[in-house]
């Protein structure tokens, strides 16, 4: 447990959007599981983090929610990407790549110095 990471600020929304894009409509539990699996269990998500993030995305209009029967006949709230959500995902992903490149450039050992 000690090497598990807290979810970095701002990244959770991107993960949720991406998950919904890949898997289609999904309930909160499914999203949490999927994120944990994708991170190879290096991330933990609890309700207190996940559901506020979902609510925020819903209020911003990037995802929409709907109560449905789940595959094993439970009632669950399913989230799905809206059109705005698709665009937002593309935008955030782009920005994230840029940031990641930037940080990588900073952290890379400088050849001149070697």
């Amino acid at each position: 447990m000690a090497d598990k990471l807290e979810v970095k600020q701002g990244t959770l929304a991107l993960m949720i959007l991406r998950t919904l894009k890949v898997l289609g409509p999904l309930h909160g539990y499914g999203i949490a599981r999927r994120i944990e699996e994708t991170s190879k269990n290096r991330l933990t998500l609890n309700y207190g983090t996940l559901y506020p993030a979902l609510l925020k995305l819903e209020q911003e209009g990037f995802i929409k929610a709907e109560w449905r029967q789940s595959e094993n006949n439970r009632r669950a709230k399913y989230y799905a990407l809206t059109a705005a959500g698709h665009k937002q995902l593309a935008r955030e992903a782009r920005e994230w790549h840029k940031t990641a490149d930037l940080i990588a450039a900073f952290l890379a050992p400088r050849r001149e110095a070697l």
């Binding site: 559901y51 609510l55 925020k56 209020q59 109560w67």
Partner: protein, 913 residues
């Protein structure tokens, strides 16, 4: 069914983007506020389903159900915790706490009803006064004109030096100069103010009309509400006369009857078609009942009128050409005028200094009201400043009592911001209540203010408590609330220790708070002194005015105007018939019981004549660099002077022998004698009317012998210097205008009914106007001044009372805070008198500083109102001393109460505190 849960929280708008996104989130939050309970259920269900799925997962992996459930709960964090942390972004947390603050503030205000009432009353008076005065200021001065593009409308005014030269109007050729040459003036309309008699079925009324060119409404930017307005095809002499009613007259006279359009009415015996009703709008220089094309007046369409450069009877209004500015128009008018005055020397004698001013129409309409209104606005602002100062003081003192509670709140984690907000919410509540009461006060006082404004401005009917005025009130209330909340010192953030060590004495008890309190009291006293000084000067002005010698001997005199002959259509036959009627009226009223004398004359005493005529004195030459000698003309019967009470200073009165055909004689007033015969005896000298204006009067240029000199009367208002007047015998000249002066040996107003009945019987179609006693005429000219003085005095008294309460309150607080110390002093031998003097001294210092500052302020402030004063210098020492004494007396009285209380402190009790 389940799908329908909480759909109101969902925002379907699908566009993404910065500000929109925030807006959408904010909307969702607000929606969330109302969907709170439903949303809570929804969330609980969702979390439960999450938990169920997680449990199922563990069971699938082979755990026993109970353990699986426990594991699931642990893995996902506490349910309640999630629900709680999820709630924060959903509703509006600050909104919830503001609701709590409001609830709390209401409770606190209810708990101290005395404080609440004091604050609400003080602020309501301040806000009410400001709202009321602002509504007048806005209606009369600030509001855009109702005319289309009203800010492009320009009024031109021609004036000269010398008596009666303030507004000469223009002649038609003069207007043509501008129409042809001024490129910055896009279009120019002409109008002449006139009056006509409208014959109704059973009565006749004089109506004020404007004789306008066809383009008048186009230039003015006014539209009809009914029918049509005049147009260029109504110009000329071979067109039928048409009449456009003003909105106000249409309602008043015809009850808003829309069938009036197309009907014919009789004006001075001529049938005239009503073609329309114009929208409500102010006219200048005064109210108008109707506007007609010029053909109705033979005189106004005569060759004399159209061709004579000095025949100045027409007003001029213009619309700036597109892109032109007022400054350009001004420059152009000066250029044109300089050239014209060189070209037509005979029309502009150089001594009179003819000039033309270019004034935006909106400004000219407000020019008489402006000084008074800004004065009132300033006074009202002062009252508000004093009220706010008082409330800050009250808040400070209450703060002392609340200190403990606020310290506890601070200790529990409320930051300074949070405490400020609490104060703000409380003060907003107070000012909201006070503002509402203030609007009611303003509403109540509006009638009075409209009647005041109507004396100064044609726009008085536009005064309302409308949205912008209420906006002003709300802004005022907000500012006051902010001031109240942020002038009260709070300890800086992070010094909780300081708070606690200060204990309950954190605000008023601190040196900072005490200094603030004292400063406020000084300011209150100073501002009150300034206001009282203004009030004193205006009151003295009023007293001076009512003490002015009107020139009439005392006694009860009734006057009425009964114009029988239309001055524009004087004919020998009409004149002879009118004279017979006037003489019958005079004789029949003379024998009424209680009547001592009845005189006939063109103009009633204390009323100004509208026309001045140039005068020539036999044997004198008019120097070119002097203003042309002019005089008001009047006619008077032999009995007029005795009936009116005008004293004969020399020579004789008119006699029945001064009739048509006899030698022409005149009586002049004292000013005339002094101006044109300085140091010489005017009796027996001869004068003659002259000049261009004479040509449209029925008077001849013959020499007339001065047979008498009478005293001056204040005809142009009590504050105006008497002008030179020439009286001609009523029987010797045409009976223009015409009215009766009736001297009674008792109550003159009691004669009104009997006298008007006689007049009506003799001349059933003649309008009877201004049936007023001389005392009423005098009163009418005093009324606006009186209202001014009363309003400012009211503001002054209000402020001094509030200031007195302020002093008493601050000293009272100081005494109660020092009870212990005073107890010690007394037990050490200070007697009651000494303690009392100590407290009085403390108040006295504040009072003295305030008084000194106030007198200095008043010295500068009263210079501003110089123009509104009469017979009193702006730095009148008597007024200043009076104000100082009055403030000192009220201030000391206010200090007396807490001083007495201090003196009565029982040291044995005080020491135990």
């Amino acid at each position: 069914m389940a799908q329908n849960r909480g759909p109101d929280r969902r925002v379907s708008c699908a566009t993404a983007g910065g500000p929109l996104r925030h807006l959408r989130a904010a909307l969702a939050r607000i929606a969330g506020l109302f969907a709170r309970y439903r949303a809570d259920d929804d969330l609980r269900d969702e979390l439960q389903s999450h938990l169920d799925m997680e449990t199922a997962e563990y069971i699938r992996r082979g755990m026993p159900p109970a353990a699986a459930r426990r594991r699931a709960q642990l893995a996902s964090g506490g349910l309640t915790q999630a629900a709680e942390s999820d709630r924060a972004p959903r509703g509006l947390p600050w909104f919830d706490s503001v609701i709590a603050d409001i609830r709390y503030a209401l409770r606190a205000l209810r708990r101290s009803p005395a404080f609440t009432t004091a604050v609400v009353i003080t602020l309501a008076l301040g806000i009410g006064a400001n709202t009321a005065i602002f509504s007048v200021l806005r209606g009369v001065l600030l509001k855009p004109l109702p005319h289309r593009d009203g800010d492009r409308l320009i009024y031109l005014r021609q004036s000269t030096d010398g008596p009666g030269g303030a507004n000469l109007s223009f002649s038609v050729p003069e207007i043509s100069d501008f129409r042809e040459h001024a490129r910055s003036l896009g279009s120019i309309a002409e109008y002449s103010t006139w009056f006509l008699t409208l014959q109704g079925d059973s009565d006749a009324v004089r109506i004020d009309v404007g004789l306008v060119t066809g383009n008048f409404f186009e230039v003015m930017g006014l539209s009809p509400v009914l029918g049509r307005l005049t147009q260029p095809s109504d110009d000329g002499t071979d067109v039928p006369p048409v009449m456009v009613l003003t909105h106000e007259f249409w309602l008043r006279r015809f009850g808003g009857d829309s069938s009036i359009v197309g009907r014919q009415v009789r004006l001075d015996g001529t049938p005239v078609t009503v073609i329309g009703v114009v929208e409500a709008a102010p006219f200048f220089p005064g109210r108008m009942d109707a506007l007609l094309n010029i053909v109705i007046s033979k005189h106004h369409s005569s060759a004399l009128m159209v061709l004579d450069r000095t025949h100045r009877m027409t007003e001029m209004v213009a619309r700036l050409a597109p892109g032109a500015t007022v400054a350009e128009a001004r420059a152009e008018v000066v250029t044109i005028r300089t050239r014209i005055q060189r070209e037509f020397k005979e029309a502009y004698d150089p001594g009179s200094h003819y000039r033309v001013a270019v004034i935006p129409f909106k400004e000219v309409m407000g020019e008489r009201a402006r000084p008074t209104l800004w004065l009132l606005m300033g006074a009202a602002a002062f009252v508000l400043v004093i009220s706010v100062a008082n409330v800050v003081n009250l808040t400070l003192m209450r703060g002392v009592r609340r200190g403990h509670e606020l310290v506890v709140r601070a200790a529990l984690g409320a930051g300074v911001l949070r405490l400020r907000r609490l104060l703000l919410v409380e003060n907003l509540l107070l000012t909201a209540i006070a503002g509402s009461v203030g609007v009611l006060i303003a509403h109540g006082g509006l009638g009075l203010l409209v009647s005041l404004a109507a004396r100064y401005s044609p726009r008085a009917s536009e005064i309302r408590l409308d949205a912008p005025v209420l906006g002003f009130t709300i802004a005022l209330a907000l500012i006051v609330a902010l001031l109240l909340s942020f002038t009260v010192p709070l300890p800086k953030e992070g010094t909780l220790a300081g708070w606690i060590s200060a204990g309950g004495r954190w605000v008023g008890g601190s040196p900072r708070g005490r200094r603030l309190q004292r400063g406020l009291v000084i300011a209150q006293v100073a501002v009150s002194v300034v206001l009282l000084a203004g009030a004193g000067l205006l009151t003295r002005t009023m007293m001076q005015l009512s003490g002015v010698d009107t020139g009439l001997t005392s006694g009860d005199v009734l006057t009425m105007s009964v114009p029988l002959v239309n001055p524009a259509r004087v004919s020998a036959a009409a004149d002879a018939a009118a004279k017979v009627s006037y003489d019958r009226m005079r004789r029949e009223i003379r024998v009424l019981p209680g009547v001592m004398e009845v005189g006939l004359g063109s103009t009633m005493p204390l009323r100004s004549s509208t026309i001045q005529i140039d005068v020539r004195v036999e044997g004198e030459r008019h120097a070119m660099d002097q203003p042309m000698p002019r005089a008001d003309f009047r006619t008077a019967s032999a009995e007029y002077f005795r009936a009116a009470g005008i004293s004969l200073l020399g020579g004789r009165e008119f006699s029945p022998a001064d009739r048509a055909g006899a030698d022409k004689v005149v009586i002049v007033n004292r000013t005339f004698a002094d101006w044109y015969f300085p140091g010489a005896n005017p009796l027996g000298r001869r004068i003659a009317w002259t000049g261009e204006v004479l040509r449209f009067t029925p008077f001849s240029r013959e020499w007339r012998t001065i047979v008498g000199v009478v005293g001056n009367t204040r005809d142009g208002g009590l504050d105006a210097e008497p002008r030179p007047v020439v009286f001609m015998p009523f029987a010797q000249e045409f009976a223009m205008f015409g009215g009766l002066v009736i001297r009674a040996d008792g109550d003159a107003s009691a004669l009104a009914t009997a006298a008007t009945r006689i007049v009506h019987r003799i001349a059933p179609t003649a309008p009877i106007e201004n049936v007023l006693t001389v005392a009423q005429i005098k009163d009418e000219s005093l009324a606006p001044r009186r209202l001014n003085a009363v309003l400012i005095s009211l503001f002054g008294l209000l402020s001094v009372c509030i200031a007195a309460v302020g002093i008493a309150g601050v000293l009272g607080y100081s005494v109660s805070a020092r009870t212990n110390e005073i107890g010690i002093r007394m037990s050490l031998g200070a007697d009651a008198g000494r303690v009392q003097r100590m407290v009085l001294g403390e108040g006295g210092v504040l009072l003295a500083i305030g008084l000194a500052l106030g007198l200095i302020g008043a010295y500068f402030a009263t210079g501003v109102i110089r123009g509104l004063l009469f017979g009193v210098p702006p730095h009148d020492p008597a007024t200043f001393i009076g104000v100082a004494v009055m403030t000192a007396v009220i201030g000391v009285a206010a200090c007396w109460i807490p001083a007495r209380r201090a003196a009565r402190i029982d040291p044995a009790i005080a020491m135990r505190l």
